[in-house]
Amino acid sequence: MSVTTPPAATTRPSQSPRVHWRHRLAERGVDGQLWLLAPAVLFVVLLFLYPFFYGLGLSFQPTEGGPFSDYARFFGDAYQRGTIWTTLGLALPAALLNVLASVPIAYRMRGRFRGKRLVTILLVVPITLGTVLTAQGLLNFLGPTGWFNRVLLALHLTDEPVRLVHNYWGVFFSLIITGFPFAFLLVLSYLSGIDPTLERAAATLGAGWWQRFRAVTLPLLMPGLATTFCLTFVLAFSVFPSAVLVGNPAGETRVISIAAYQAAYEQYDYPYASAIAMVMGFIELVIISVVLLARTRLYTGSSGGKG
């Protein structure tokens, strides 16, 4: 102890509460190792909390009207309000499809087999491409004169090119291509966390593969799927580049981030843009809360794929 030695008689009474206090903190996980969190905390404060509260404050200081007038303006304008539904219409199905498509593929890819690494790399490569390159590829492949339409035309399956870019579908495909690898990797790791002997036990009890999946693996995987859904949903909800590049940013893919961008960088109305960003964050929060609330009703103990 670094305490300078006082007379022996007073040492005991003064030290014992101090020790107790340390023990009590240690019991709750408060100890020196907590300092390891310092860089992360600093990072979160500087790059997330500060801008967030700055934006929140700004959104209540509109250039004209009361503190809530920018929110009223957003919700009062059907053209602006509609971006919420446009964005949800893209992000919810895309996130759902990413999660649902990951499950069978990851399920098949559990365990070891020849060429697993190659398949994983192929499935995950789109992460490295980035949105712009993906958009470029989509335009070349699915565009009116792209390979896809040329094949369809050559096979006389269609008389005129199918429109798959510069509309809803272009953005949707882009969200799948960039979101799927994330969902797949997450689901694969959740699946690997489930003890494989459980399915073997189920097999010896007479369960066929579908019953094993349905009654044993899926319930243990569900919490992980919920988490995965939330993450891919957030990725998809803030879609911006692909909505502009392979979508129709003035019409059917005018997502909420475009509305915020226009407010900020075309009208230079930062308080209004902040208000739109706050609305965006709030909607994400609502969806995530609903999903995570449902998740608490699931089994999340050991040998479940955690989550």
Binding site: L198, L205, G304
Partner: protein, 383 residues
């Protein structure tokens, strides 16, 4: 639960083999199991016991051989169509289901009527004394209770064969004894045909009707507990069955039905297992409890002067380690109050000293002679 009338008379394993890459985990296992029998597969870790059990359960495809249930070939069936129950070492209980749901799982998969499922589940839970815990999740139970659930879950289906893979190895010593009795009781009251895997020879001896000893994927011996205890087929089996004293020696001459063996001028007379020609390398084996301790005295057959070196207290008896004048270490058990440093005479009944042919260069599991230890001078052992 009622005693099941077995729906088959025998299960036959015919040259069952399994390779992993270039490694043979199990080679040519031939075994016929009668209905109602309790078979123990016994062997050191890595010898292929789990592989054999998984092949039986259908969780591992065979590389060669076949499995027959009477005239029905079962090795081509998937596990869910074999109707064998299995108890896993780590219990493998479904963590998200209550005890009741775990036990009912197999019945539900069979789409039995709801009230029959309820009745049989309740009965199986009562059989393993878990009535108060029926609605808990497995994570809320102790290891012993979890293993009881696993057993109930397997036997509730009244399977034609129950497979158990080291079911007690995760439990503490006291619980292991209790559960051992419980498993034996269940086997007797339900008449379940059981294949039980263990690396614990005591467990195997106490439970099984017949033992199959495996080593490096090959069957070493199949026999009753008594046979394995008193006449192991080779020194590997002996090593595993508690013959802690195994001394590499050389055969000298036959003496009637017995044979005289020698090492470094140290001579013993023992009972040969199999044919042994003079001059052949042999392994002489004796259990610690068959080494008798007496006061040092006259030289006589199979009597060795020795000094006690280590003594372990084991209740009524002492387990001790002694070193003979020739430097050979002897494990023994005795109820004499010996102490380290005591000079004694060790006597081995020639009928209890088994002489095995020693075909390999392998060493038994325990070290024989202390390599750095100095040998005592006097080589004179009486023969």
């Amino acid at each position: 639960m009622r005693v099941t009338a077995p729906d088959f008379s025998q299960l036959r394993l015919d040259g069952v083999s399994r390779r992993f890459g270039s490694q043979d985990a199990l080679t040519g296992l031939d075994l016929t199991i009668q209905a109602g029998e309790f078979i123990a597969l016994l062997g050191p870790s890595g010898c292929g016991k789990s592989t054999a059990l998984n092949c039986l359960a259908g969780l591992l495809p065979l590389t060669a051989g076949s499995i027959w249930q009477d005239e029905r070939r079962v090795d081509t069936l998937p596990p869910e169509r074999r109707g064998f129950g299995m108890v896993f070492q780590n219990y493998a209980l479904f963590p998200h289901m209550s005890v009741r749901a775990n036990v009912a799982f197999g019945l539900r998969m069979r789409r039995l009527p709801r009230d029959e499922i309820r009745r049989r589940t309740t009965e199986a839970i009562r059989l393993v004394h878990l009535e108060e815990h029926a609605d808990k999740l497995p994570g809320q139970l102790s290891g012993g209770q979890q293993q009881r659930v696993a057993i109930a879950r397997a036997v509730v289906l009244e399977p034609s064969l129950v497979l158990m893979d080291e079911p007690l190895s995760n439990l503490d010593a006291k619980l292991r004894l209790e559960m051992r009795t419980e498993i034996r009781r269940l086997h007797q009251s339900l008449g379940l045909t059981t294949v039980y895997v263990t690396h614990d020879q005591e467990e195997a001896l106490s439970l099984a009707d017949r033992l199959v000893v495996l080593r490096a994927g090959r069957v070493q011996q199949i026999g009753s507990p008594q046979t394995l205890h008193t006449r192991p087929a080779n020194w590997h089996v002996a090593d595993f069955m508690g013959y802690r004293n195994l001394w590499p020696m050389r055969a000298q001459s036959a003496q009637g039905a017995l044979v005289e063996v020698e090492a470094d001028g140290f001579r013993l007379v023992g009972d040969p297992v199999g044919d042994i020609a003079p001059g052949e390398a042999v392994m002489a084996g004796v259990r610690p409890e068959d080494v008798r301790v007496d006061d040092p005295g006259e030289a006589a057959t199979n009597t060795m002067p020795a000094e006690i070196e280590v003594v372990e207290y084991q209740g009524r008896e002492l387990a001790a380690e002694a070193r003979t004048a020739a430097g050979i270490r002897v494990h023994l058990r005795t109820d004499r109050r010996v102490a380290p440093g005591d000079m004694v005479a060790l006597i081995i009944d020639p009928q209890r000293l088994l002489i095995f042919p020693n075909d390999s260069d392998e060493q038994p599991s325990g070290p024989l002679v202390d390599e750095v230890g100095t040998r005592l001078e006097e080589p004179g052992l009486v023969g």
